[in-house]
């Protein structure tokens, strides 16, 4: 069973004090608050390297995502976060005596053939590290090509069991910036049971692999707490009516829905229509549903989200708060979890390059397990399953303009194979 500890008050105070001390130290050196906790690793403005190594050529980072298109991950947030990070690093002197350079390659999630050819085009530009691949279907599709390219890829998505179990041949060059999904599910269920006191929890999920994992791990999480699901309902992600599924939840005192934004919004609307005023726990889809006001306010106020971090209200994390402020100043728009992936991905890549003291992708690959970083979205350290982020937050929407971080969970490292 995956161990989940809550972040106690004393531990939080220590972490905040440490972060504040770090902010002061790094600010004096002109670096970003999201830099590694080990040392000031950003080069000074003079162009020299504070890490004592020089590179023969600028570091090149490749960004693999769409910023416009039909896919739900075709958004500009990750690009903005990444661009902000590159600007900050270059303003502080770059890496190894050079400015960081980058390029973006569109990787259409809805066209896996084009995904492969576009990835090969990106690899052909010889970047040191690539960041992106935001759709879960793309990661397995690119496994062989990523291994052949021998370039580390920091995936801007959650790690799912199929990606980490080794059976489907995930490339060893793949690293996940997001959490391990079963741990998020476990955190969500634990919050509903232990913090909200719910004991008749109904599970709803899509009937695809993502939803099936939601059902499987939510059921396991309930079992670990001595409970069984009140009811389990699965549906098509394209469903236009969830009346029967929602009616099956009558009698439950909470719902756990692990699905994409449309069915989550549809479920909340249908619950409202049926007069079911019970809390719902969902994944990051809930943040989008709340942000776009896709469901009645009464149901949104009873919704919680289990996600990696809460940029909408970063008061619980100084590093996140600093990033959010910089992002807002740069783009005049609120930061999102997607934007933290772009930002943290760049910084983590640079930390790995500094640890390797080289821009050789294979040396950087070898250095990645040695890197620890207090990222904007949580503490980053690679575990056996190549998951980097080990913090989950429970976000509630009692206020839609400033969602509250109700709880922060520190997650245990996941062993190889999940």
């Amino acid at each position: 069973m995956t161990h989940v500890r809550s972040f106690g008050r004393t531990g939080r105070a220590i972490a905040i004090c440490s972060a504040l001390a770090l902010v002061s130290t790094v600010a004096a050196c002109g670096g970003s608050p999201s830099a590694s906790t080990t040392s000031s690793t950003v080069a000074p403005a003079s162009g020299g390297s504070s890490t004592g190594f020089k590179l023969s050529a600028p570091v090149k980072l490749g960004f693999l995502w769409e910023i416009q298109g039909e896919s739900s991950v075709a958004v500009s947030d990750m690009q903005r976060g990444a661009t902000l990070a590159v600007k900050e690093i270059n303003a502080a002197g770059g890496v190894g005596g050079h400015e960081v350079t980058d390029f973006r390659q569109t990787l259409p999630p809805l066209d896996l053939q084009a995904t492969v050819s576009d990835f090969l085009a990106a690899a052909g530009q010889n970047p040191t590290v690539m960041i992106g691949v935001p759709s879960p279907t793309q990661v397995p599709a690119l496994a062989t090509d990523i291994s052949a390219a021998k370039i580390p890829v920091l995936v801007t998505d959650i790690g799912q069991p199929n990606d980490v179990n080794g059976v489907t041949g995930m490339s060893p060059y793949t690293w996940f910036l997001g959490n391990y999904d079963p741990q998020l599910i476990n955190a969500g269920i634990t919050y509903q049971v232990k913090d909200l006191g719910m004991n008749r929890i109904g599970i709803m999920a899509g009937n695809d692999s993502y939803g099936q994992e939601g059902v499987t791990y939510a059921t396991k999480a309930l079992a670990s707490l001595g409970l069984k699901p009140f009811a389990t309902q699965q549906f098509s992600e394209q469903a236009t009516d969830l009346t029967s599924e929602v009616l099956a939840m009558k009698g439950a005192n909470a719902v756990f829905n692990w699905a994409y934004p449309n069915p989550v919004a549809l479920q909340l609307k249908t619950m409202y229509q049926q007069g079911m005023n019970i809390p719902t726990m969902t994944d990051e889809s809930g943040s989008l549903v709340a942000g776009l006001n896709l469901a009645p306010a009464d149901t949104l106020s009873k919704m919680s989200v289990a996600g990696p971090c809460n940029p909408a209200n970063p008061s619980y994390s100084p590093s996140l708060a600093t990033f959010v402020k910089a992002y807002q100043a740069a783009y005049q728009t609120p930061a999102t979890p997607n934007s933290t992936w772009g930002y943290d991905g760049v910084y983590f890549a640079i930390r790995a390059i500094e640890a390797a003291k080289s821009s050789d992708p294979q040396k950087v690959q070898a250095a990645i397990p040695k890197v620890s970083m207090a990222a904007a979205c949580g503490p980053f350290k690679a575990d056996g399953a190549h998951i980097l982020n080990h913090q989950a937050t429970i976000i509630t929407f009692s206020s839609l303009t400033a969602p509250v971080t109700s709880k922060v969970f520190q997650l245990s490292p996941t062993p190889a194979g999940g």
Partner: protein, 290 residues
């Protein structure tokens, strides 16, 4: 009992929406011989136009629906001009492929125009709920049924009692003879495309408040509407309406009580079962007429 009533209401309203979709589909097929694979995207586009009108101009939802209907009628005419008229003398399959291309184009344009994030469409009866014997029925579902009954009755009247309807039936029966008898094929073709698109738009704006609107929103409805049309007998408006109601009820009742999790597949399973026993569909007249 309240569950049964809720599922019945939900099933009938879904049937109403599918009837609007499939009658639009059938109308165009009968008038031009074309299966319009852009029909689902016209459902989607109608909902997006209504959303855009409300967001940009601040108009009430009813006015937005009306403007969307007019806009989609014009879009239907444009689709006819671009994807059908130049190919009128080619085999029907070529025109079908052209409508598929139009579908992909419309979906892409919607994504560029409105983005991929889901959106919500307001309704004049937002959050109004009726209670019958403990069952809560959204007023939107009642609105769907009322609107579908009124509009489909009007469509039936038009096709049975008006000159336009007679001409469309003539085109459906024998296009060459109809042309020889002075039926204006070009005008009728444009009107059929426009009317079909308007019916698609109406389906979209009626069901959108109960759902979330995304660029692929109408595709599922189109496929279900097609199954309903085949089930009912791809030959008469009455058959198509019957098929739509059967699909709506089966999806909700059978999907709600028995085969939960597979509700969306049930209409197609039913369609195949009916076709095995009665290949012409549930209700088809001997003569092919609307």
């Amino acid at each position: 009992m309240s569950t049964l009533i809720s599922l019945l209401a939900s099933g009938i309203s879904l049937g109403g929406v599918l009837a609007l979709v499939s009658v639009g589909f059938l109308l165009l097929y009968k008038a031009t011989g074309v299966l319009n694979f852009a029909h689902g995207d016209l459902v989607t586009l109608g909902a997006y136009v209504a959303i855009w009108v409300i967001a940009e101009w601040g108009l009430p939802s009813v006015a937005a629906y009306a403007l969307a209907l007019i806009a989609l009628f014009l879009v239907g005419v444009i689709v006819e001009r671009i994807a059908y008229a130049p190919l009128r003398k080619r085999p029907p399959l070529v025109a079908v492929i052209a409508t598929l291309a139009a579908a992909i184009m419309i979906e892409g344009l919607i994504a560029v125009w409105q983005g991929a994030n889901p959106k919500s469409l307001a309704s004049p009866v937002q959050n109004v709920i009726f209670t019958i014997d403990g069952a809560r029925i959204p007023a939107q579902e009642v609105l769907i049924v009322v609107a579908a009954v009124v509009v489909l009755a009007a469509v039936l009247f038009v096709f049975e009692k008006t000159s336009f309807g007679r001409q469309v039936r003539a085109m459906a029966a024998d296009p060459e003879m109809a042309q020889l008898n002075g039926v204006a094929m070009r005008t009728l073709s444009m009107l059929a495309f426009g009317l079909s698109a308007a019916l698609a738009c109406l389906a979209g704006v009626l069901i959108a408040p109960l759902n979330e609107v995304t660029p692929t929103f109408g595709f599922t409805l189109m496929i279900s509407g097609f199954a309903a049309a085949v089930l009912g007998g791809f030959g008469s408006i009455g058959g198509v309406i019957l098929g739509s109601i059967v699909v709506g009820l089966v999806q909700n009742l059978l999907g709600g009580y028995v085969l939960q999790g597979y509700a969306e597949a049930l209409p197609f399973i039913l369609m195949f079962l009916v076709l095995v026993v009665r290949p012409e569909g549930l209700l088809v007249l001997k003569s092919s007429r609307l």
